[in-house]
């Protein structure tokens, strides 16, 4: 049995669409599973159900071998979670958070102190441990959040958009720690994210969710290979020639989403098309300001499956989440 087994999970909200509409997921022990999708796709609702905070409308799921509906307390004892936004009390210090949460988990005395000190050191907060959290940076809050999620040695860790709003350095540090947890401690990680590179860098497998449905699932390499062809993005010297550029490019592949001043296509034949494109543009008198050749990304996978780009899509769909 996997660390997480989900079958036909559904969540409906009053007067709203199905936020999660019959999803199936299996996550193996020690695996990092990336759950990718735009805002409002159903990622956070899924996490709330799997962490027992929201009862499902239909379907079944087990986490760490326990049923999320019938064995909620056992599930909570086996999991750690850092949910969207670091939910901390700005009036308490980092160490006071550790003490509060550890005590509620039944930890006490020397065991709690040792474990807390160890985790604070591991996330680089030893020096800041006695400062009130209100003065922490976003990255520090996220790291404390992670330490709190790990305090009681959970077997399964849920991270809901853990790096949203973090600077690149803090994001990389968090990725390293999550990867280490799975690699060295055998912790199963269920990671939701909007960031393609995050899923690509961390996840052993990725599931892409859109409008409550899982549209595709596999390793990042498998998913990108499923798209197959490379794409090219060209920015003309003269922005007024963008329309001409698009018409010329259309002969060489499938148009992709526009980025304002440039045109993109998925190449019919691959890299070998590029020379022909350059010749065609030269013949039309369209100067090239920039040309970028791109290998398939997870965004391309999302585009292929849904007809939309993941980046920036769904920003108007927050209500469903």
């Amino acid at each position: 049995m996997g660390a997480i087994e989900v079958r036909g999970l559904v969540r409906e909200f009053k007067k709203g669409p199905r936020a999660v509409d019959g999803i199936d997921i299996t996550v193996a022990e020690g695996e990092i599973y990336g759950f990718l999708g735009p805002n409002g796709a159903g990622k956070s609702t899924t996490v709330l159900m799997l962490t027992t905070l929201l009862p499902p409308t239909a379907g079944t799921a087990t986490v760490a071998g326990f049923d999320i509906v019938k064995q909620g307390a056992e599930v909570r004892g086996a999991i750690g979670a850092a949910l969207q936004e670091a939910a901390l009390d700005k009036f308490l210090t980092g160490r006071e958070h550790i003490k509060l949460q550890g005590s509620l988990h039944g930890m006490k005395g020397a065991e709690l102190k040792r474990r807390g000190d160890d985790l604070l050191e591991r996330v680089g907060l030893t020096d800041a441990a006695d400062r009130k959290v209100g003065g922490y940076s976003g990255g520090m809050k996220r790291r404390l959040d992670l330490a709190l999620a790990l305090l009681h040695n959970p077997r399964v860790l849920f991270l809901d958009e853990p790096t949203t709003g973090l600077d690149p350095q803090s994001r990389t540090a968090l990725w390293d720690e999550v990867a280490r947890l799975a690699r060295e401690d055998g912790v199963t990680v269920f990671l939701t994210t909007q960031y393609l590179e995050e899923a690509d860098a961390l996840a052993n497998r990725v599931g892409i969710i859109d409008h409550g449905h899982i549209v595709i699932e596999g390793t990042p390499a498998e998913l990108k290979a499923s798209v197959g062809r490379s794409s090219v993005e060209i920015e003309p010297h003269d922005a007024a020639r963008l329309g001409d550029l698009e018409r010329t490019l259309a002969a060489f592949g499938t148009p992709l989403t526009m980025r304002g001043t440039s045109a993109s296509i998925r190449l019919n034949e691959g890299v070998s098309d590029v020379a022909a494109i350059v010749r065609a543009l030269d013949a039309e008198g369209i100067g090239i300001h920039q040309l970028r050749l791109r290998e398939p990304t997870l965004d391309d996978v999302f585009l292929e499956q849904t007809g939309r780009s993941l980046e920036g899509s769904g920003d108007d769909e927050d209500a469903a989440e």
């Binding site: 929201l54 909620g72 969207q84 936004e85 009390d89 509620l104």
Partner: protein, 258 residues
């Protein structure tokens, strides 16, 4: 120590720390009632010459009102803190631990009790500075503190119930003016018999706040008036029961965890 007791203790500690670290929330709860005491004692001093008015200064008579205002501040404090926890997701964090719902409510009231005791001490100090004395002596002060704690729990629980029901700090603060209107429709300014307007006297008679004011006031100016104290304690305990009951119902709706 049982698991529930331990959970209540750590959540109370957190609530107390949080309360003490918000001077902006504590200072008005202390300064405002004391200011109002001195203002009303100055402005309404002539009332002590009314036939039937107790044989004390108006300042001594009005001192009881500060304790009631303090209790109303407890409503806002406990409720607003919990609403903040709901809004920030901190309640979800706590819900992922084996914390029981009862521990959440009782722990939240810890800060309200500490604030209530601190406020009562300040009000008594202001009263002594203003020349008041406690007719029931040291025993009466102890009973007064017990009543203050009950009121902090009861009114705090009403705030907690509002927070759990709405999850909104502004909605909790909305209780504040409602309770203040109830306070002004009680015997805070005059004894019941001296209220000249019939409807006002009727409202004050059925208003439970009246019995709390009268009980506190009796300890300060009358001496051991057992029927008045019994009525006051009955109302305080009633508010505790209603507050905790409403909190328990609201908790079931708020904590949907399986």
């Amino acid at each position: 120590m049982s698991t529930l007791a331990l959970q209540v203790r750590v959540l109370s500690e957190r609530s107390v720390r949080r309360t003490l670290r918000q001077p902006a929330a504590i200072i008005p709860a202390i300064v405002f009632p004391i200011m109002l005491l001195f203002v009303s004692a100055g402005g309404l001093q002539a009332a002590q010459n009314l036939p039937g008015f107790p044989d004390v200064s108006y300042f001594d008579f009005a001192l009881a009102v500060t304790f009631m205002q303090g209790a109303i501040f407890a409503t806002g404090g406990a409720g607003t803190d919990l609403a903040t926890d709901i809004d920030s997701g901190f309640l979800n964090r706590l819900s992922l631990t084996p914390m029981s719902g009862a521990a959440l409510v009782l722990g939240q009231l810890g800060g309200a009790i500490v604030l209530g005791i601190f406020q009562a001490t300040c009000y008594l100090g202001a009263g002594f500075i203003g020349g008041a004395s406690i007719a029931t002596g040291i025993g009466g002060v102890i009973v007064l503190y017990v009543l203050v704690i009950l009121m902090a729990i009861g009114f705090g629980a009403l705030g907690v119930a509002a927070a759990l029901r709405t999850g909104n700090g502004e909605a909790v603060q909305g209780l504040f003016p409602v309770l203040f209107v109830l306070l002004f429709l009680s015997t805070i300014n005059l004894p019941l018999d001296l209220i000249p307007i019939d409807w006002f006297r009727w409202v004050a008679t059925v208003n439970p706040i009246t019995y709390l004011v009268n009980a506190v006031r009796s300890l300060i100016i009358t001496g051991w008036d057992w029927p008045v104290l019994a009525a006051g304690f009955a109302v305080a305990i009633g508010i505790v029961i209603v507050g905790i009951g409403l909190s328990a119902v609201a908790l079931r709706g708020r904590l949907q965890r399986t």
